[in-house]
């Protein structure tokens, strides 16, 4: 009888361990662009030593899992206790308000307050988490290719057209497949579109129809792609809203200029090494501005967690100034913590390219257009980005004309708005 009870209890424990969180268990879903997964594990191991009653599990996943599977898990009431996300606003209904559990709410408001609206539901004042890093989109040039081609790097006021012409010369001289590349992402082309003067947000706060200035950049990008100047591969190698990056092509010296963002610096530092000289260039200019798109990854707590106190302890630890400083210095990410920024950073690298690139991005952040600053906290950004990327790809693949695509983009966004109501 006793034996039977033991077996039943053991079976129940085994079953529960797969379905329920025990007190002290905190699960983090984490994706990495560079080395930040390793840094996080190191930081967390120290936290666990100091807090033996809390066990933190880090599930390292691909970015696509965060983008595609996490929303479904959250909607189904599952998911981790904490997640590192870039989709900050449109999933904000699932974020936990950490306010009642935090050690020092004022610390959070003072140091992370500027970006809290990016991740809150509209009109709310909750504290769901903090930005692990601030990013800014911008370009990277393969300086070795420019030097070998005898082409001068375009200056800080150079336009997209100037860059297209200069890189074309490099590509012809160095026999590389494409002059420049831009990631297959609506977020990535939004900086250039705003530089051309595009405006996404209507007077009522809802999505505005695609305007002539935005259309002009799209038409230029499609033209450069058709002419073989801009890399076709990343844009037409997927359908729908799937994200594709051209980082590997830049690392392999297949393009002279790559428009991505500050998060690529650690990746380039590790993978390019001393193979060639590379520089961050900031964002090329358009008629209206020379702006990149701000953004970043946020670490947010989930409303569905069963251990909010433990989750808050982990968040308090990771957001604390010394830990946030170490994280930024070791991962080479731009921090969002104001105390860290004010105290200065000693990025842990001897790589001169990476150090200069970080400085370039810090400098470029001062020219970010106000229109670009609004978008990370705008509910409909992702709907706009998704429509842009899927339709522009279709034009590049020859499936529809530019005019048809413009109409479809407006219709897609309208459908998303209708569906969300």
């Amino acid at each position: 009888m006793m034996k039977n009870k033991t077996i039943i209890a053991a079976a129940a424990m085994a079953l529960m361990s797969t379905t329920a969180a025990f007190a002290g268990d905190v699960r983090i879903m984490w994706y990495s662009d560079g080395v930040e997964g390793e840094v996080l594990k190191d930081l967390i191991s120290r936290f666990e030593k100091d807090n033996p009653d809390i066990h933190v599990t880090i599930d390292e996943v691909a970015y696509s899992v965060i983008k595609e599977q996490l929303p479904v898990q959250l909607a189904a009431g599952n998911g981790p206790d904490i997640a590192r996300v870039t989709n900050l606003k449109s999933l904000s209904q699932y974020w936990l308000d950490l306010t009642p559990y935090l050690k020092d709410v004022d610390f959070w408001k003072k140091n992370y307050g500027d970006q809290l609206d990016w991740m809150r539901p509209d009109g709310s004042d909750i504290i769901p988490g903090f930005m692990t890093q601030i990013t800014l989109t911008g370009g990277f040039a393969n300086k070795t290719l420019f030097d070998q081609a005898g082409v001068a790097l375009p200056g800080p006021d150079a336009t997209w057209e100037d860059w297209a012409k200069a890189t074309q010369k490099v590509a012809e001289s160095q026999q590389i497949p494409y002059a420049f590349a831009i990631d297959r992402s609506g977020h990535r082309i939004t900086g250039p579109m705003i530089s051309y003067g595009a405006n996404y947000i209507g007077a009522d706060g809802m999505p505005a129809p695609l305007d002539d200035k935005g259309k002009k950049f799209i038409s230029d990008l499609v033209g450069w792609t058709k002419d073989g100047i801009a890399e076709r591969d990343v844009w037409v190698s997927a359908a729908g809203t799937t994200y594709r990056a051209a980082a590997d092509d830049f690392i392999n010296s297949q393009v002279a200029f790559y428009y991505a963002g500050s998060w690529q610096i650690p990746n380039f530092m590790t993978k390019i090494g001393t193979d060639f000289d590379w520089v961050a260039t900031g964002s090329p200019c358009g008629p209206a501005a020379c702006t990149g798109m701000p953004g970043g990854a946020g670490l947010v707590a989930m409303k569905a967690t069963k251990n909010p106190e433990d989750v808050a302890k982990v968040m308090d630890y990771l957001a604390s100034t010394p830990v946030a400083k170490e994280f930024a210095e070791r991962t080479l990410f731009l921090p969002s913590n104001k105390e860290v920024i004010a105290g200065g950073l000693d990025f842990k690298t001897d790589n001169q390219f990476a150090k200069e690139a970080l400085n370039t991005f810090v400098k470029a952040s001062s020219t970010t257009a106000p229109e670009a600053l609004k978008l990370p906290g705008w509910k409909w950004s992702d709907a706009y980005y998704g429509a842009l990327v899927s339709r522009v790809s279709q034009v590049m693949a020859g499936e529809m004309s530019l005019d048809e695509a413009y109409g479809r983009i407006d219709q897609d966004i309208a459908d998303k708005v209708k569906e969300a109501k």
Partner: protein, 331 residues
């Protein structure tokens, strides 16, 4: 010792359930007993097939981006009306849901070409592997090996081969000095690549079915034909093909069903591109329901119900064909 123990346990169990079973049979007759034994299967079918199907149908009648049914609003047949709202069904751009019709067209073309090529190649391979060739077992293993691979692995292997800096372009350049070609970003070659890769991945399975059919054909028929001096082609058309027909029908229907469901290898290989030229219907459903920002589970559900209807038709075809074969066999 162990089998003796097992038998003892079985006998004990049978002893316990024997009396209730007999009483049940007496009360319900043979039909009732059949129903009783069908119950476990019906329960599994109900939980894993029927209930999800019903839930999916209810989803297709709702709108909104939410996952939970109680948070979604009832919209009736609106999703279906939107799907079928087309100026011209052959021109997806004239449809409200242009992505759905593009996916339908791509899938239809894929199904026709892939299934024809798959069956022909599987048949030819089976005929060759049925002969006394050197290393026959080795070749059989070679053709069956891709079936064992995960579809994602298959897609990745072929992506590495076909991409701009891939193995194929390297070989073409090294051996023939050919300029690199973007196999996966050209509409035609990317589409054909999805066909080729899925054939490569699944052909071994169908070859095996046909090989089994070929080996079941009595040898004496061939010997008699040989004695009569019948030509090889006549032997193939008059003996092999008719006797292989039951297996061919099974292969045809299974291949059709599988082709309509094409997703994993193609998705990893091309991501649905270039543009939407390899976006098949399952990927469209996945995009609508899971991948796109502000998902549309209602539309995804409606599209999957329509795809399910096509699969039901194909399954009925298989059942009808099997029945016809059985009757022929009886005659």
């Amino acid at each position: 010792m162990a089998s003796g123990l097992t038998m003892a346990v079985v006998e004990r169990i049978m002893g316990i359930i024997d009396i209730p079973l007999r009483r049940w049979q007496k009360a319900t007759g043979q039909t009732g007993m059949a129903s009783f034994f069908l119950l476990p299967n019906m329960a599994v079918f109900g939980v894993f097939v029927l209930i999800p199907f019903v839930i999916n149908f209810i989803y297709s009648m709702t709108g909104g981006a939410q996952i939970f049914l109680d948070e979604r609003r009832y919209v009736g047949m609106q999703q279906y009306r939107e799907i079928f709202s087309c100026g011209n069904y052959l021109d997806p751009n004239s449809c409200v849901q242009d992505g759905f019709w593009t996916a339908v067209q791509n899938t239809a073309l894929f199904v026709v070409l892939q299934v024809i090529l798959l069956i022909v190649l599987s048949l030819v391979t089976a005929l060759i592997l049925n002969r006394e060739i050197i290393g026959r077992s080795f070749w059989r293993a070679v053709f069956f090996f891709p079936v064992l691979l995960s579809p994602v692995v298959t897609g990745l292997i072929w992506r590495w081969i076909l991409q701009r800096q891939g193995l194929l372009n390297f070989i073409l350049y090294e051996w023939f000095g050919a300029e690199p070609f973007n196999w996966l970003t050209d509409r035609t070659t990317a589409f054909m690549a999805t066909i080729g890769v899925t054939i490569w991945a699944h052909m071994g399975f169908y070859t095996l079915i046909l090989l089994a059919g070929l080996q079941a054909i009595p040898k004496d028929l061939y010997e008699a034909a040989q004695m009569d001096g019948t030509s090889r082609s006549r032997v193939f058309w008059r003996i092999t093909l008719p006797l292989l027909m039951p297996n061919l029908i099974v292969v045809l229907v299974l291949a059709l069903i599988r082709a309509v469901q094409v997703f994993d290898e193609a998705f990893v290989l091309t991501g649905g591109g270039p543009g939407t030229s390899t976006m098949y219907i399952v990927q469209y459903i996945y995009e609508m329901g899971f991948a796109s920002e502000l998902r549309n589970p209602g539309l995804a559900a409606a599209a999957s119900i329509l795809m399910g209807a096509v699969l039901v038709v194909l399954t009925l075809m298989q059942m009808a064909a099997s029945r016809r074969n059985e009757k022929k066999g009886e005659r």
